[in-house]
Amino acid sequence: MIEILDTAPLSSVQDLGRAPYLRYGVSYSGVMDRLALRAGNAMLGNAEGLACIEIQAFPCRIRFRAARDFALTGADCAATLDGVPLPPWWAKPAREGAELTIGAPRRGSRAYLAVAGGIDVPSVLGSRSTQFRGSFGGHEGRWLKAGDVLPVGAAADAAVQAPGFGAEPPQTAFPADWAPPDLQPSTTAVRVLPAGEYGLFMEESQQRFWDTAWKITGQSNRAGFRLAGQPLEFAQRIEMRSHGIVPGVVQVPPSGEPIIQLSDAHTAGGYPKIGTVIEADLWRLAQAPLGSRLRFIPVTYRDALDALRQGDAWVAALRRLAEQYRSLCNSGRTP
């Protein structure tokens, strides 16, 4: 069991999401940064889909009521275990009673605490992710708060030994080498495939969609990022019939300022869609801070598929390495 000692109401239990229930209006939910959770689970030898705690506000303090291996991935946070600083993207054993403090990110926005065996809340409609709109899943269908005690599942045999081990964060494993060279360091570049209504925008607005460094406004959250910038203009305004949408879809409401749909987005919408941030880059959005800026970079379908596979291969390689490391530890040899 682990206990939440202190958190703002922005931490929640999430796994890789809930599917296939879009036809009942049930969104995916799930972590915003799938690579971070998959990596954490790979480091611990967990099945890929086990649930973690997603942390979006800092500091967050957690106590391990029993000894347990854990991995902290996602944002590079000033974290300590029993007062000892923890490197980013690190897996380590926690002793019974150990206290983990996850401080403000130096880089990124969302941290992921995976534990060996996963956070074992009941599965609802096939997932442990918190579904906020329907107030179900996760821990009592809500944000975590101080005093919450979360069950942990049975763990695999091969355990992590102190001082633990780290993984290369995706920021360095997957640099945005396809972004324009004049990109400001505080601007996140993400790749986008044009969507169904791209052609309905004025040519000048289509170009401006790509050229603008869009600001992520404070009205942004797990449901979507509302962007600020000079409004895009429609060449032709239509009232769309409602249709299915997925995380990454960039809608343009009549105000002309784009909204990117994310994990807690509605399963359907009716605003015209100018593009879709590719699945392989959703983690970059997850780690982009509020108030920072975004650039959309056009990509081909083929390159979008390749990017997705590179992510899969990276997780698989990390899982193999972590397995070797843990079995070396258990054989009594020094890795």
């Binding site: 296939p20 036809r23 009942y24 009232e239 299915g244 997925v246 509605h266 359907a268 009716g270 879709t276």
Partner: protein
């Protein structure tokens, strides 16, 4: 000016690498929608398809595995649409009591003004519309209803409301809706149902299913 997206031929577009959207040509009609339900049943068994989620005369396919060649999937989808006959399943009749206006329907008066009708007349046209569940989507249990009297159609709000309660009955363009759970919405809300619309512990979790006939009853009208 409000223009429905009348397509003269089916439109297929990609939503990144995650999904493909099929939009049927022609009217926003039940006959078209019945073909969408048939299409959904056909393609949900295709390899690589995680789910076929029907919405308003359109269908979204999500992928377990994104297609190598989306053009081939698109061709197969178009061929399946040509072959799809209207689904003939008989829907259930579901009676839904509603409180109209006041805090339950904050947009009733705006909608009446837009339609140049008395609010009571809006309620009458809403309760007398033969509404059929076209799709469940957007948020848990939310029903998209076809068959709205066009006299009470109204475009979505320019700025979405931050919260509508569970059970909200609303109008967005030519569509009517019945919301399953509380949350933000861009639709015009005219009332609220007094029975639950979604329960995640049940299977299926939604009160309504595509093809069901919804009869709204005015339990109360607040003016």
């Amino acid at each position: 000016m409000l223009v429905d997206n009348h397509l003269t031929r089916p439109n297929v577009s990609m939503l990144g690498t995650s999904a493909m959207l099929f939009e049927a040509p022609g009217d926003f009609s039940l006959a078209n929608q019945r073909r969408i339900w048939t299409l959904a049943r056909m393609v949900s068994a295709w390899p690589g398809v995680q789910e076929a989620a029907p919405c308003m005369t359109n269908l979204m396919l999500t992928f377990d595995t994104p297609p190598e060649e989306p053009e081939r999937l698109e061709d197969a989808l178009l061929a399946a649409w040509e072959a799809a006959e209207p689904d003939q399943t008989e829907g259930r009749v579901v009676d839904v009591p509603v409180i109209y206006g006041g805090e339950y329907g904050p947009d009733l008066l705006d909608l009446a003004a837009h339609a140049k009708l008395a609010p009571e007349e809006v309620v009458r046209l809403h309760t007398e519309s033969r509404l059929i569940v076209f799709a469940i989507g957007s948020h848990p249990g939310n029903a998209y209803l076809g068959g709205l009297d066009p006299r009470i159609a109204m475009p979505r709000r320019k700025v979405p409301r931050l919260r509508l309660e569970a059970g909200s009955t609303s109008i967005g363009g030519l569509q009517a809706g019945l919301g399953g759970t509380p949350g933000p919405s861009g639709w015009n809300c005219i009332g609220r149902a007094s029975i639950p619309v979604f329960d995640p512990q049940c299977y299926p979790p939604a009160l309504l299913a595509p093809g069901d006939i919804v009869r709204f009853h005015a339990e109360r009208v607040i003016l």
